[in-house]
C-alpha cells in the first residue's frame, strides 16, 4: 500500500519546468527523504502532493484522494510544515500550539481538564520539544532549532497519517538536526508516512528510503544504503547519476596572478606569519556576546574554515574581519593592516563574496563585473579588457549579456566569485558560498578554491555543510559565539575520537575516525559539559 502514487507529473511556472514527467510511489509507514539542491523541484512536489498547487498534467493520489478535487477531505489527514515553519512570530509558544490545535479541530484538554492539566497533549508536546521553560516566549524570539521543534510540534498535532516536512533542517546545527529526526521517529506510529525534504546529501542515510531529484526528475529511489555505505560514497554515486563530474585544471586559478599590494607594514616579518589575523575579536550586543575572544592566524595559501550553525557568530566575525562591523574589543589584520585603523586599505587587499551572492539582479553579467571592477578601483582604460578576460576565464561568455537574476544558482555563484576576484586580491573571504547549489557545482567550486589556495591566495570561508570542512586546511568550530575547537580536520577528528572512546584499541586505524558531523556533535557536547 502506498501513501502517494504519482504518474507522469509535470508542473511548469511560465517558462520554468519545475517537475518534468515525474513518477514516484511513497510507501506507507516509512520515512522517505526527498533530496535535491535548491530549484530541483522538492517544494513544488510537496505542494502538489497535498493540493496546494495544481499539476499541468499527470495523476496524483494521496492517501487515496485526488488532491486537485478532494483537497478538503485530504487536509485533515495530513500534517504539513512549510519552509520557515509557518509559525506566527508575534504569538507565544503556547499560543501557536493552541491556534494550530483549534485550526485542526482537536481539543488540547480532553475530559474537561485544563489545557495545562496533567497528561494533556499540550504538556506532552512541551515536554517533548523541551520548550516548556520557554512556553510564554514569542516564537520570533526563539532560536532556529527551537522554532523548528515548535513548527514540528504544531504539525504533529492531531496525529496526521501523513507528515510532510519541507527542509526542516536547513541552517540548524547538527545536534538539532539529530534531535529532530529522533522526535519524528518517537512521535509517529508505525502507520505514519513521513516525507522529509532536504538539500543535504549527507542526511540521506538517516532515512528509510531516499528519493533524489534533480531538474524535476527522480534520479534515484530506494534504500540509501544500497547506493553507498557512507555519506561520501552516496554523494559520489549521486554525482554519477547526475552525469558525473570530471575534475579539470581550474582555469580561474591558472589565470590568477598573485600580487600582494605593496604596503610598508607587510614588508616586515609579519607577512610571513599571518596574512589574516584575528586578535581577540569580540562583539557585544547589550549583555549578549555575539562573538567572544576570537583569535586565529591564517597563513598565506591556507584555506581556513569557520564552521558552525546559524547564529553561532560566524557572520558577525566575518563582518568584523572585513571592517563592516566594528568590534567591541580586539582587532583584525589583513596583510598586516589593522582593520579598525585603516579599513579601506585593509579591504583593498581582499575579495569578498557575500552570502546570497549580492549581485545586481537587473544588471547583466557584464554590467555586474564592470561595476565591481570600478568599485574595486580598476582604472577605466583597463576595465573593459579586464572584464572581458574575466568573462572568458570564468566561462561566462554565453551569459555575458543576460540579466544576473535570470541565471541559475550555480552560475550566480560563479559570477559572484568572479566579482570578488576581479582585482586579483591576495585574500579571499567567502560567506556561505555553496549554500543551496547542487553537489556537482559545489565540487567544481571547491576545485577552483583549492587551486587558488595553491597559488598563494589566503581563503577564509564559512559554511554549515559539515562535509565541506574536509576541503579546509584548518577549521575553527564556532558555537554560541566562541571557538570551541581549532585545528586541521584530522586533528579535530582525533580529538573527538578520544572523547568518544578514551582508551582506543591500538588496532584502531584511520577508518574508524568519526565523520565531521559526529566530530562536531562530540566537541559541542564536550564544551557544554564543561
Amino acid at each position: 500500500m502506498n501513501t502517494v502514487e504519482i504518474k507522469n507529473l509535470t508542473k511548469t511556472f511560465g517558462k520554468i519546468t519545475a517537475l518534468n514527467d515525474l513518477s514516484l510511489n511513497i510507501e506507507k509507514g516509512k520515512i522517505t527523504g526527498l533530496i535535491g539542491a535548491d530549484g530541483a523541484g522538492k517544494t513544488t512536489l510537496l505542494r502538489t502532493i497535498i493540493g496546494l498547487l495544481i499539476p499541468d498534467s499527470g495523476e496524483i493520489s494521496t492517501l487515496g484522494f485526488d488532491p486537485v478535487t478532494q483537497k478538503d477531505e485530504l487536509t485533515p489527514l495530513i500534517g504539513y510544515m512549510p519552509q520557515k515553519f509557518g509559525l506566527y512570530e508575534d504569538l507565544t509558544v503556547i499560543e501557536n500550539l493552541t491556534l494550530h490545535a483549534d485550526l485542526k479541530g482537536i481539543s488540547l484538554a480532553p475530559c474537561g481538564r485544563g489545557i495545562k492539566g496533567e497528561g494533556s497533549i499540550l504538556n506532552k508536546m512541551l515536554e517533548f520539544t523541551k520548550l516548556a521553560p520557554f512556553q510564554d516566549r514569542l516564537a520570533g524570539a526563539l532560536s532556529g532549532g527551537m522554532k523548528q521543534k515548535l513548527g514540528l510540534a504544531c504539525t504533529l498535532l492531531g496525529n496526521p497519517e501523513f507528515l510532510l516536512l519541507d527542509e526542516p533542517s536547513v541552517g540548524v546545527d547538527p545536534i538539532s538536526r539529530r534531535d529532530l529526526m529522533q522526535m519524528v521517529r518517537e512521535m509517529i506510529n508505525p502507520e505514519t508516512t513521513v516525507l522529509w525534504s532536504t538539500a543535504y546529501l549527507d542526511e540521506a542515510h538517516s532515512f528509510d528510503t531516499a528519493v533524489v531529484i534533480d531538474k524535476g526528475k527522480v534520479i534515484y529511489e530506494g534504500n540509501p544504503h544500497d547506493l553507498g555505505a557512507t555519506a561520501q560514497e552516496f554523494e559520489n554515486k549521486v554525482i554519477d547519476l547526475m552525469g558525473g563530474y570530471k575534475q579539470e585544471e581550474s582555469l580561474i586559478a591558472k589565470n590568477y596572478e598573485y600580487t600582494p599590494h605593496p604596503n610598508p607594514l607587510s614588508q616586515g616579518a609579519r607577512e610571513n606569519i599571518c596574512t589574516v589575523e584575528a586578535d581577540n575579536l569580540e562583539k557585544k550586543y547589550g549583555n549578549f556576546y555575539a562573538v567572544k575572544n576570537n583569535s586565529f592566524c591564517i597563513q598565506k595559501g591556507e584555506i581556513f574554515g569557520l564552521l558552525g550553525p546559524n547564529g553561532a557568530g560566524k557572520s558577525t566575525s566575518f563582518k568584523m574581519m572585513c571592517g563592516l562591523a566594528k568590534p567591541t574589543n580586539g582587532t583584525a589584520r589583513i596583510m598586516g593592516i589593522d582593520i579598525t585603523q585603516d579599513p579601506e586599505k585593509a579591504r583593498s587587499n581582499l575579495g569578498y563574496m557575500a552570502q546570497k551572492f549580492s549581485l545586481y539582479g537587473s544588471l547583466t553579467v557584464r554590467e555586474n563585473l564592470d561595476f565591481f571592477a570600478s568599485a574595486y578601483g580598476i582604472k577605466f582604460k583597463n576595465r573593459a579588457a579586464k572584464v572581458q578576460e574575466i568573462i572568458e576565464v570564468f566561462g561566462l561568455k554565453d551569459y555575458a549579456e543576460q540579466k544576473s537574476e535570470e541565471l541559475p544558482l550555480g552560475l550566480k555563484q560563479r559570477l559572484s566569485m568572479a566579482c570578488a576576484l576581479i582585482h586579483n586580491p591576495p585574500v579571499l573571504f567567502l560567506d556561505e558560498p555553496t549554500s543551496g547549489v547542487d553537489v556537482i557545482t559545489r565540487r567544481d567550486f571547491w576545485n577552483h578554491i583549492t587551486s587558488l589556495a595553491k597559488k598563494g591566495v589566503t581563503i577564509l570561508v564559512t559554511t554549515h555543510f559539515m562535509d565541506e570542512a574536509e576541503y579546509c586546511d584548518r577549521i575553527s568550530l564556532f558555537y554560541h559565539g566562541e571557538t570551541i575547537a581549532l585545528g586541521t580536520p584530522q586533528e579535530l577528528k582525533l580529538k573527538a575520537l578520544r572523547l568518544i572512546n578514551p582508551s582506543p584499541l591500538p588496532a584502531s586505524g584511520e577508518g574508524e575516525l568519526p565523520t565531521m558531523e559526529e566530530t562536531f556533535i562530540t566537541l559541542i557536547k564536550e564544551s557544554e559539559g564543561e
Binding site: 496546494l52 483537497k71 514569542l138
Partner: protein
C-alpha cells in the same frame, strides 16, 4: 465556528502586540484631524491690497478711507504704478485698486464709472477675494455717497441667510469629512498589510494545509479589523465633537451605523489589495493610491463633485468615500435627513457586499489560482 474564534483571537493578539496598528488606528487620526483643523482653511482671509487714487476729490477720498476701515482688507496707499508692481512681485500686497481721474466726474454725470482692480493670478483663491472685496467695498461706499440718488438701484435686494453653517466656517464640514479620509486610511492601510504578511511569512501556506475554509479566513480578517476600526471611529468622533467642538446636529446611532457600513467597504478594498498582491510593500503602496488619493480628491470633500470633469463625476459613483462624505457632512451640520441617510446607506451596502464577494473570491485556498489553471489545462487538452 471554533476555527473562526481561534483565528479572531489570534488576529486580535497580533494587533495588540503590533504598535504600528495602534499608531495607525489612534495616533494617525489625531494628527490628521489636527491638520484639517488648524492647517487647512478655506475661509475668507484678510488680504493686503494697494490703492492709488488719481481723482483727488473729497468724495473719492472717503472711498479710499473706507478701504482702510474694512475688516477684511489692509490697505496701503501708493502714488506710483511702478511701486504697486514691485509690491505685487514681492508679495507685499495681493492686489491693487486704481481709481481713475474721471471717476467722480463720471459718477456726477450719472454715468457708469470705472475702477481698475489688479489681482495676482498666480494665487487664484486670493485673487478672487481681492476682486470681491474691492467690489463690495466700492458698492457699499456708493450706496452711502452723494451719488447714491443718481444711480439706478437694483430692484431686487438679496438678503443672504446661510443655513446650517451661518458663519460659513469651513472647519464645520472639513473636519467631519476628514473622518472619511481617516477611516479609509485605517480600513485600507491596516488590512492591506495583514493578508500579505501571512503570505510573506509562510503562515498562510501552513494554514491552507489545515481544515480552514475560505469563509474562516475572510471573516477571521474582517471581524478583528472591523472592531479596531469602530474603536478608532469612536475616538475620531470624540475628537471632533468634544475636543474640537464641531457642532453635531445628527443622531449618534445613525452616525455609527452608516460609518460601520463605510468601514465595511474600506476593509473590503484593503483585503482585496492584500489578497491579490501578497506583498506587504506593494500592497501598502497600492492601498494608498487606490484608497487615500480618491478619498481626498474625489469624495467631494475638497473639490465639489459637480465641478469635476464628467468622467470623474461618474468615477466617484463607485467610490465609497463619496457617499460617506455626503452623509457625514449632512449628519453633522443639518442633522439626520432620512433621504440622505437611506440613499447613501444603500449605496455603501451594495459596494461593501460587492467588495466582500471579491475578497471571498480572491482568497485562494491553494498557492495559485485554480480556475486559471483549469482553463490552461483545458486549452492544453484541446490543442
Amino acid at each position: 465556528m471554533k476555527i473562526l474564534l481561534a483565528l479572531i483571537k489570534k488576529e486580535i493578539k497580533q494587533i495588540l502586540r503590533d504598535p504600528s496598528s495602534i499608531i495607525i488606528a489612534f495616533v494617525l487620526p489625531f494628527i490628521s484631524i489636527m491638520i484639517y483643523m488648524y492647517g487647512i482653511n478655506l475661509d475668507s482671509v484678510k488680504v493686503t491690497m494697494g490703492i492709488k487714487n488719481d481723482d483727488p476729490t473729497p468724495e473719492v477720498a472717503t472711498l479710499v478711507k473706507s478701504f482702510g476701515h474694512s475688516k477684511y482688507v489692509n490697505s496701503i496707499y501708493f502714488d506710483n504704478i511702478k511701486d504697486i508692481e514691485t509690491a505685487i512681485v514681492r508679495s507685499k500686497i495681493k492686489g491693487a485698486v486704481i481709481i481713475p481721474n474721471d471717476f467722480s466726474t463720471k459718477l456726477a454725470k450719472g454715468q457708469n464709472a470705472d475702477l481698475l482692480v489688479i489681482t495676482d493670478g498666480s494665487e487664484v483663491n486670493t485673487a478672487n477675494y481681492v476682486q470681491s472685496y474691492a467690489l463690495a467695498i466700492a458698492n457699499s461706499w456708493l450706496a452711502t455717497s452723494k451719488y447714491a440718488g443718481s444711480i439706478k438701484q437694483p430692484s431686487i435686494n438679496a438678503e443672504v441667510r446661510t443655513w446650517y453653517n451661518p458663519d460659513l466656517n469651513s472647519h464645520y464640514f472639513i473636519v467631519p469629512g476628514s473622518i472619511a479620509i481617516t477611516m479609509t486610511l485605517i480600513g485600507i492601510l491596516l488590512t492591506s498589510l495583514v493578508v500579505a504578511r501571512e503570505w510573506e511569512r509562510g503562515t498562510m501556506e501552513a494554514m491552507l494545509a489545515t481544515s480552514v475554509k475560505t469563509i474562516h479566513i475572510v471573516l477571521g480578517k474582517y471581524i478583528p479589523y472591523f472592531i479596531l476600526g469602530m474603536l478608532s471611529l469612536t475616538f475620531n468622533i470624540f475628537l471632533c465633537i468634544v475636543i474640537f467642538q464641531i457642532p453635531f446636529r445628527g443622531n449618534y446611532l445613525v452616525l455609527l451605523l452608516v460609518s460601520s457600513l463605510f468601514l465595511f467597504t474600506s476593509l473590503g478594498i484593503g483585503l482585496n489589495v492584500s489578497s491579490v498582491l501578497k506583498n506587504q510593500f506593494l500592497a501598502s503602496m497600492v492601498a494608498m493610491s487606490v484608497g487615500f488619493m480618491p478619498a481626498l480628491m474625489l469624495s467631494g470633500l475638497m473639490f465639489p463633485i459637480n465641478s469635476m470633469p464628467v468622467f470623474f463625476q461618474h468615477l466617484t459613483r463607485i467610490l465609497p468615500p463619496r457617499y460617506y462624505v455626503s452623509f457625514i457632512e449632512s449628519e453633522f451640520m443639518a442633522g439626520t435627513v432620512p433621504e440622505i441617510v437611506i440613499a447613501n446607506a444603500i449605496y455603501l451596502t451594495i459596494l461593501g457586499l460587492i467588495l466582500f464577494a471579491a475578497v471571498y473570491k480572491n482568497t485562494l485556498m491553494r498557492l495559485e489560482n485554480a480556475k486559471a489553471q483549469h482553463i490552461s489545462k483545458e486549452k492544453a487538452v484541446k490543442s
